[in-house]
Subunit: 279 residues, 2 copies
């Protein structure tokens, strides 16, 4: 297991906001991630929530903008925040420089296509390498871990959570890309990373996964009605249809809220309470 280098630490709500760098085998690159440790972690192992960020983000956006530490401190939850793609020398980026492919846009998949497949293994990185690294290195209860995320990271939280119920006991998402096989962001990324054969996309499409098998974990989703990406990219109606009649899935439409971190901050308390109660 790779050694962790602590590159930042701040006292926050009686706990610690930390940032680390490690060499990742899955990503074949160095990578950074952030951790919030609540005060309870000084005495005992605590439950944790993985947070997967959206397009263009690093591990830092959620750390600085979501206001999550206050709730995590009170609830005794650790927060684990990876980057959104591999980065560094030799890691390919979209030659057109678009924001929705390549750096900052790993989509939490294991790429199979050139030039992506040698580094873009975010699925394995999060589910296996980072997951095992944080349990080994932090006072985290490996039996009580949830997963959440925003937009591309909401897609990631749903897919990684649904496929790994033994690893993630609760799943939540803000404004997730619900059906990437059927929207421009998803089609662009999945065809680049996985190729044009759509059979390979199914395991990275939350609605396809849910249609194949009902979820074993409770799921909470919040979506803003004024979200500028709702109609074209997010496909919330597909998620509503795919989870119809499931009592342990709650999907809230929030009137007037947009796609920004102001939306996330407004409801992150609900999500962390949900994870604390369900992991």
């Amino acid at each position: 297991m790779s050694e962790l280098q602590k590159i930042a630490e701040h006292r926050s709500f009686d706990g610690f906001q930390q940032r680390f760098e490690m060499r990742s085998q899955a990503l074949n690159s160095s990578t950074r991630f952030s951790v919030y440790l609540p005060p309870a972690a000084a005495q005992q192992r605590v439950p944790a929530v993985f947070w997967l960020s959206g397009l263009t983000c690093t591990d830092e956006n959620f750390v600085t903008k979501a206001g999550a530490q206050m709730y995590a401190s009170r609830l005794g939850l650790a927060l684990i925040m990876p980057d959104t793609s591999p980065r560094g020398d030799g890691v390919p980026d979209d030659p057109d420089g678009s924001y929705d492919l390549g750096l900052g846009a790993g989509f939490y998949v294991n790429a199979t296509q050139a030039p992506w497949q040698s580094h873009y293994q975010m699925y394995s990185f999060v589910v296996e390498e980072l997951y095992e690294t944080v349990i080994a290195n932090f006072p985290i209860d490996g039996q009580r871990i949830g997963i959440s995320g925003h937009s591309m990271g909401g897609h990631g939280a749903l897919c990684l959570g649904l496929r790994n119920p033994e690893r993630f006991g609760s799943i939540s998402a803000f404004a997730p890309i619900c059906a990437p096989s059927n929207c421009p962001w998803g089609q662009n990324a999945l065809s680049a990373y996985l190729g044009d054969a759509r059979d390979a996309w199914t395991v990275y499409d939350a609605c396809a996964l849910l249609r194949a098998q009902p979820p074993t974990q409770p799921i909470l989703v919040d979506q803003g009605s004024a979200d500028e990406f709702l109609a074209e990219q997010l496909g919330t109606e597909n998620l509503v249809a795919a989870t119809s009649g499931l009592d342990h899935v709650r999907i809230h439409m929030r009137e007037g809220y947009d796609h920004s971190y102001f939306f996330i901050a407004s409801f992150i308390g609900d999500h962390l309470e949900f994870h604390a109660a369900n992991v």
Copy 2:
């Protein structure tokens, strides 16, 4: 009075996070400021807190990083967040490009020296022009306004508040520059903006103001013990000495906290509760 142009709006904790641009007479430039309106402002005039940010900030740092909207929403407080200096074409900056003079470093003074005096009138802008603008344009109770800020903005909150008790009913600060006449940041800025005659500095030095006259308003100050600027720049011990024996002044040293927004976020709830109770 100048016309306000709304340049951004986001739903936030059932209220609205807004950003405006206006032409300022005091600053002889256009300027931007942010406003948070809590849900209570839809029904009635609400109390407000002015927030003055620190070196290098704009109006946006506090908006995105402090997590203040949750408390402001619950307490029914509006938040008013100006920029930290004039900006735009023709506004001079430090020719050396330093971060502690010129753009982003207005120090909330009315400059008297060239080349600064034609634009750097942040004292009058905040106390008069912006103050009157927000009362005229927003559902804010002009009898219940407090002032707070961080670092350079903590200095500003103390000075503007102490000099204008009829305008600001409560004062608070995070890691303020307490005695700018006696630290490198303050001496550099005050000599540039006001000249080398130190008599002119007194009205912009919180400790000098407090020694001349005890405050009429309650004051709350938080300071991190691990603040990297504490020893050289902030001079908290001078503020402690200048307010010794005053029951309505509380100064807390917070063990292990640094100068960052993680510190502000950890205690902004205490400060907004203080203002809600005292304005």
